[in-house]
Amino acid sequence: MGRISDLLNFGPISPFRIRTKLLLLALTTLALPWAGCQYAREMETVLRESEQQSLLAVTTTIAGSLKGRQELLFRADSLSALDANTTRDITPLVLSGAPLIDGRADEWDTNARGVVRVAGPGNDGLRLLAATHERWLYLALLVRDDKVVYDGSEMTPLDPDTIGDRIWLAFDDKRGGQQRLFFGSTGGGALRARRIETREYGREEAVEEPRIDAVWQRARDGYVLEMGIPLSLVGQHIGVLIDDRDRRGAARASFGTLDVADLRATGRLIAASPDLNDHLRQFAQPGVELTVASSTGAILTRLDAPALPGDYTHMRGFLPRMYRLFLDGGAIPRGVSQVERQRAAEALTARAVLGTAESTLFAGPYENRVIVAAAAPIFAADGKRVIGVIQLAQTADRWLTLRDRALTRLLNLTLFVTLFAVGAAFWFAGRMSLRISRLGAASENALSREGSVSRVLPETAAKDELGDLSRSFSSLLGRLDEYTGYLRTLAGKLAHEIRTPLTIIRSSLENLESESQSANGPSTHGMGENARVYIARAREGSERLSAILTAMGAATKVEEAIAHSERQRFDLGALVRGAVDAYGDAFPQRRFACEIPAEPVDITGAPELIVQMLDKLVDNAVDFSAEGATISVVLRADPTLVELSVANPGTPLPAEALKHLFESLWQSRAEPDKRPHLGLGLYIVRLIAEFHGGTARAANLPDNSGAIFSVRLTR
């Protein structure tokens, strides 16, 4: 558990740490899903293109089946009406079911391209819609009229005073004659077309045409006339005209597709052959919408798609939606309105009219519905003239579903792999950086300020590079330890080595002195006064050298003494009090202030060593204070620790010195002194403090009036 919490607790993520780097590295596995997406897109493109190609092939095949078969494409009567077109032409849509003739426009697609629009006076206008089913032609006239005026009487349709709004219908009949019929309603509802026949004596009479069904209904902004005409009646041309009157019997304002003067129909009826749908039905496929248009672009017939296979839109959920957003971006035009979609289909048809078979892709009317469409021209028998266009549209659901399913699986997998990789990398990096920082901390602490080397490093058992590193660190530390050991004992060894020649010098000097003394008196070979001075100087020098050697060995001695000392329980307060009393005698030029708790301060330790430590501290305080200064020795105790401090007035310690004071052979004495100083005094203090489980510390007095050295010991 400790290891796990260590792992979790490896600190903040900061840049340039190994775990951050590895984490970033692991994040590159996110390229996997990206690559997956790229692949899926490729796949999608291929699928889409093959889909488009196959749809185009089907379209071309159907177009081929219709090549030169005008009679199958168009109603026999409209064969000759292929070339020029006028705005008066009527292209009825082929319906799969008969519309209900009820005078309502709601069944009709009033925005379809085949709608004929004629503007009347003012706001008035006409929209003429046409459709065929079986052998019938259906017309719907949507008349905008700000003032609808009905006929005054059913009985007198030809009385000019009773005439209201009238609608004329004119068409060629099979014999080449013109049929002119009018509709007039006295109040809406079903009505018959009537034709004016001239009887004997020029009497005109309105005769009903029973073969035409019609219903006249008021609408919000005018009225609607819906009618059904047997196709057998109608020849090549057909048209309507509105006689709009503001009141009964008033002058008419006429507008429509007939010549106003003679009521002749000039607009052609371009209708699909009744057999066209049967022919097309053999090509019908589920999900494929089949549209045939004339060479003018007007739609002749449309076979709606039977049931759609699959349901692309059912793929809901957060991830698939995200994937799709990620994937579809750009490939498929989005947010296309129906109008735009229609425009796209029309543009496709328009290009096909010019003779190009082509396939395209656009978004459907519903969200996420993609449509593949292909259009091909239908050529006349000569293979040059375009007599019509066939267009197939198909939802792209099938391959989109396929793609999405594959992709979702792929992305889920790669996402999982990525998460796993990132997690693993994070864990690995964390572990690695933990190990490295452990090793780092250990190697940082291996060499203490005092020069002692700890050879115990973590990870030395590990078999990887970190283990190697740790092992080489260990061996390096080992060598360093030997070296520092050598350095540490160097002073002692040197002292030992120097002692022998020093002994030679000293014993020789002593002998020389003894000789000269014994030869003193009247002897002639006695030494002169000068020689004695030189001997005295040489002795002095050798004594100093000897003192230096003793000082050099002092640290080693203390270390030895520490190694051999025994701990005992004693009253530190009494010891310090006694010692400070003694210092008063030893250093008469200094005053000593002592602050010690009244009650006994018992600690466990070696009293001789403590005294020695105090000696060094006081020596130091004396050395760095002026004559007459007061050195204060303070002992404070709490249940676990005692603090012994010696403060002296004087120059404050430089910051550099504070760091090194307690190190071996460090000293910061401004002026040279007669006594040998090797900077071992405070080092010994530290050794003794550490032996007592404590620390030694130096600081300047708060007001910089001197220095304070304190030692903390555990009781």
Binding site: L502, E510, N511, A554, E560, A582, Q612
Partner: protein, 229 residues
């Protein structure tokens, strides 16, 4: 007849200097540079006193070995270790081998001669019956300054010469604090604080061998030591 002193010291200059000093004092001196030469001579004829260095030519511990062999030849022969080695361990080992004193080469010739004289005096005193006036009695302690011997509760406490002089200085005026300098002067020796401390420790331990409850040497922290009866 002149007393003979053997100096076993591999450093020729030192050996000759010591020899010169001892000769001046009227001793017959013979010097040997190594253990083999010394032992050969000693088996032929024992000196009256031996001054031995610890490291001898190729033998770093040759002096100890020599001391052991010499003690085997004679139990009474005064032996002084005189060495540049001043570690506690060496001192303890040397004294345990039966040396009468363990001195470092810091010691001046005058001090060394004083010690040698003292040792000879003791040897002589041991041969004579004890003189009462030389004996100091302090409770359980009996100290013969001539023979340099100490008894505690009638049992002999074997002290080295330095230790004896320290005990002697302490017991001369019981209750008086002797500081380190005074003790060093009394022992004719120059020692640092730690060496004094270890001498005191050794003295206490030697007394405690014969009396576990021995507690007569008191430390007066910061000042020195005193003998308490």
């Amino acid at each position: 007849m002149k007393k003979s002193i053997a100096i076993v010291e591999d450093e020729r200059a030192i050996r000759d200097n010591y020899a010169a000093a001892f000769s001046r004092e009227g001793y017959a001196v013979r010097g040997y540079p190594n253990r083999r030469d010394a032992m050969a001579a000693f088996t032929a004829r024992l000196p009256d006193l031996a001054v031995i260095d610890i490291s001898l030519e190729d033998e770093p511990e040759g002096g100890f070995e020599l001391c052991r062999e010499l003690r085997g030849l004679s139990a009474e022969l005064p032996i002084i270790f005189l060495t540049a080695r001043d570690s506690e361990l060496d001192a303890v080992s040397g004294l345990r081998l039966g040396a009468d004193d363990f001195l470092t080469k810091d010691l001046s010739l005058a001090h060394l001669i004083a010690r040698v004289n003292a040792l000879f005096r003791r040897v002589d005193a041991l041969r004579r019956p004890a003189e009462e006036k030389q004996v100091i009695r302090r409770g359980a302690l009996t100290l013969d300054s001539e023979r340099m011997s100490v008894e505690w509760n009638g049992q002999v406490v074997l002290l080295s010469l330095t230790e004896f002089w320290i005990v002697y200085a302490l017991t001369k005026h019981p209750g008086h604090v002797k500081n380190r300098q005074q003790l060093m002067d009394a022992a004719n020796v120059v020692l640092d604080d730690n060496t004094i401390t270890s001498h005191i420790k050794r003295i206490r331990r030697k007394f405690q061998v014969v009396d576990e409850k021995f507690d007569a040497v008191h430390t007066v922290y910061g000042m020195g030591y005193r003998w308490v009866e």
